[in-house]
């Protein structure tokens, strides 16, 4: 009897194993993107992934997170330790060079040999080119960085919404007025995300044309421009325009300060529009204005471009089971229809252009501001190595508190920029 039961149990186990194996012919791919946390496109990404899974029967292991220096370091570490995902949505600039030069991602040229229609809906001229002259990533939506304003705070303080001719002196005066009314003029965590202000302060001490010049030394023209920009941030800090806890607060805290109507200005990117769309009590309280201009830079000149795209890793490409699933995933996420759900006012590389529908007041405000933007430059920080950038931004808190001079901080960062 015992033998019979044992045989039956073994047979049942074998049959169930065979049944599961036969029924589950789907492929699971590991995907890492920056559409995690409070990213404005998180819901759109989740919907797109779900639709892909339903259409193909494949499964997606979503390892997305919020983009910051920690996340970038983790992605690079994953590549170096052989734990890279199958598909990665990542920066296409110098940040990608370590894994591109190591041959850990597949070029579009290589993919097109087997899938000729891969990224056919994109303008090839707008796809990022790596140091070896090849294209590796399929671009998603682009970005812009500009000044978000809390209209209600400005109104309560009797300050006008900044226009395309907004000057630095006017800005300093407005900040004093806002501060005198008990509000925080600028929402920014200098310890966590000083880079938006860094970009514009550097541009304010140069021009949009030379914005992408990376200093070779502290003494050269670009170096002096960066030093002046860093000192402008210090000046704003000393005037008390940043939140009282700017050196201990997280980005989420200062953004909430702005969202809650306690701060007037916030420099951030196009991705933040989605955040306010979802979290603002009244979206009509917010608008996209202009970062004040200084010297040769006009307020109508902004930061922007297409900086991120989808990479297929060599590991996935060499896995016959995953190759097709990874290609289909990227094709689906970058199709005209799906990409249009991610886009409101951003530029894209789509040959036919994106067709966003039903803009809310903040999105419309962004579209109106972008229509007045006279020139645009990419973010110069993207041209630094991760080590140099991390060191420079970590030192901004020391610059504003006078523990280190802007010159010394820049020299230390440039020494790491190899």
């Amino acid at each position: 009897m015992k033998k019979l039961i044992s045989i039956l149990l073994v047979l049942a186990m074998v049959f169930s194993f065979v049944a599961v194996t036969a029924a589950d012919d789907s492929v699971t791919i590991n995907v890492v993107t920056s559409y995690g946390g409070d990213d404005g496109n998180r819901k759109n990404f989740e919907a797109a992934v779900k639709a892909y899974e339903e259409a193909t029967g494949n499964k997606v292991n979503d390892g997305s997170a919020t983009s910051n220096e920690d996340w970038k370091a983790k992605v690079l570490t994953d590549f170096e330790t052989g734990s890279e995902p199958d598909v990665l949505f990542y920066f296409t600039n110098a940040d990608a060079e370590p894994f591109v030069s190591a041959g850990k991602v597949v070029s579009i040229e290589e993919i097109r040999k087997e899938y000729p229609e891969y990224a056919a809906n994109m303008k090839d001229s707008m796809m990022a080119v790596a140091a070896d002259g090849k294209q590796y990533s399929v671009p998603s939506s682009g970005y812009w960085e500009n000044m978000f304003v809390n209209k209600k705070v400005l109104e309560d303080c009797g300050v006008a919404i900044p226009g395309p001719d907004y000057t630095w002196d006017q800005f300093l005066q407005d900040c004093e007025t806002i501060k005198a009314n008990g509000f925080t003029p600028i929402a920014c965590s200098l310890v966590e995300v000083p880079h938006y202000w860094f970009e514009f302060m550097v541009m304010n001490n140069g021009t949009v044309a030379n914005h992408l010049d990376v200093p070779a030394s502290v003494e050269d023209e670009a170096g002096q421009k960066w030093v002046k920009g860093l000192n402008d941030i210090k000046d704003l800090y000393e005037r008390g325009f940043f939140p009282a806890n700017t050196l201990t607060a997280s980005d989420a805290e200062t953004v909430e300060l702005f969202n809650a109507g306690d701060a007037a200005f916030l420099i951030d990117g196009s991705w933040k529009v989605g955040y306010f769309t979802q979290n603002a009590a009244d979206i009509n309280d917010f608008a996209i204005a202009y970062v004040p201009g200084k010297g040769d830079r006009k307020a109508s000149e902004a930061i922007g471009g297409i900086s991120m795209g989808y990479f297929i890793t060599t590991k996935a490409w060499n896995d016959p089971a995953k190759r097709e699933a990874a290609v289909k995933f990227v094709e689906y996420l970058t199709s005209d229809e799906v990409l249009s759900t991610f886009v409101t006012t951003e530029v894209t590389a789509l040959a036919n252009g994106a067709k966003p529908a039903g803009l809310n007041p903040l999105q419309q405000s962004a579209a109106d501001t972008n229509a007045n933007v006279t020139a645009i430059a990419g973010a110069v920080q993207d041209l630094l190595t991760a080590e140099a950038r991390g060191d420079l931004f970590a030192n901004i808190q020391n610059i504003v508190t006078g523990k280190i001079t802007a010159e010394d901080a820049l020299a230390a960062a440039l020494a790491l920029n190899k």
Binding site: E69, D70, D156, N181, G182, N245, L247, T248, A249, E253
Partner: protein
Amino acid sequence: MNSMIYKRKSPLLIFLIPAFLFLLVFLYYPFVQNIINTFLKIGGLGRRAEGFNEPWYENYARLFTDPYMRVAFKNTLLLTVCTVVFQVGIALILALLVDTIRVGAQFFRTVYFFPIVISATALGLMFNLIFLYKGGMVNQLLLSLGALETKTMPSGRVVVTWLDWKDQAHFLFTMFLPVMWQYVGFYFVILVTGLNNIPQELYEAADLDGATGWTRTRYITLPMLRNVLITCLILAITGSLKVFDLPWVMFGAGIPENMGWLTGTYMYDQTFNKMNVDYGSTIAVLIVVLGVILSNVSNRVFRRSEDL
């Protein structure tokens, strides 16, 4: 039959070797490799070394000149002292109190042990909310008690000067409190178990001699608990050197103004964020050396009493 098993030692090896091999591959080999890494130039995890440092002891020399390392070292030693005094101290007091009650002892054991089973990340997020600058639980409490300065602007807007629990004046308290709180229960359970092992006859004899209350605790409980206490102290000291997760979630990279480093968080930041793997490895070696020295010192100071 049993005696035969003990006479033939070779079968024991079969059971010992797998664990030994596991430790060899996953502990001793990485440890030795880590020491070698401290002399090399490695610009990222998994990257090939670019040769030896010049001079080869560069990273060790840097340990003595790096101001942030000094901060990390100082904070970690302070944390160790606080751990010994407050973590083990509070655990001892709670254990002695719970040992004296007959009803509800199990309830308190569960309650005090509970923080241990919650992940440090979740605790970090929870304490972040408790100590949040604007509208955090503690600040709201202080506001309702009138302990925070408020100012009414001409527009009628009331501006509150919130207390920044992560600033230079408060960060040590904000960082250490959750760490203390989390592990009190761990030592509490060990000490309660130790208390349960003290023979009841001793207390009965003490009662007959008229010893009660503090006298009983001073002359019977504490001496009998000595070895357990020493174990707790060594665990607390070595554990405090490795603290990482909770402070990292709450304070990240050295908040405030690079004054909030611990050896664990500084090692992580150097290795993973600054891509300075060789220097991170050197800090790891320092942590191990400190652990060995401090546990040896504590062993010698509180030498185990063999007669108990």
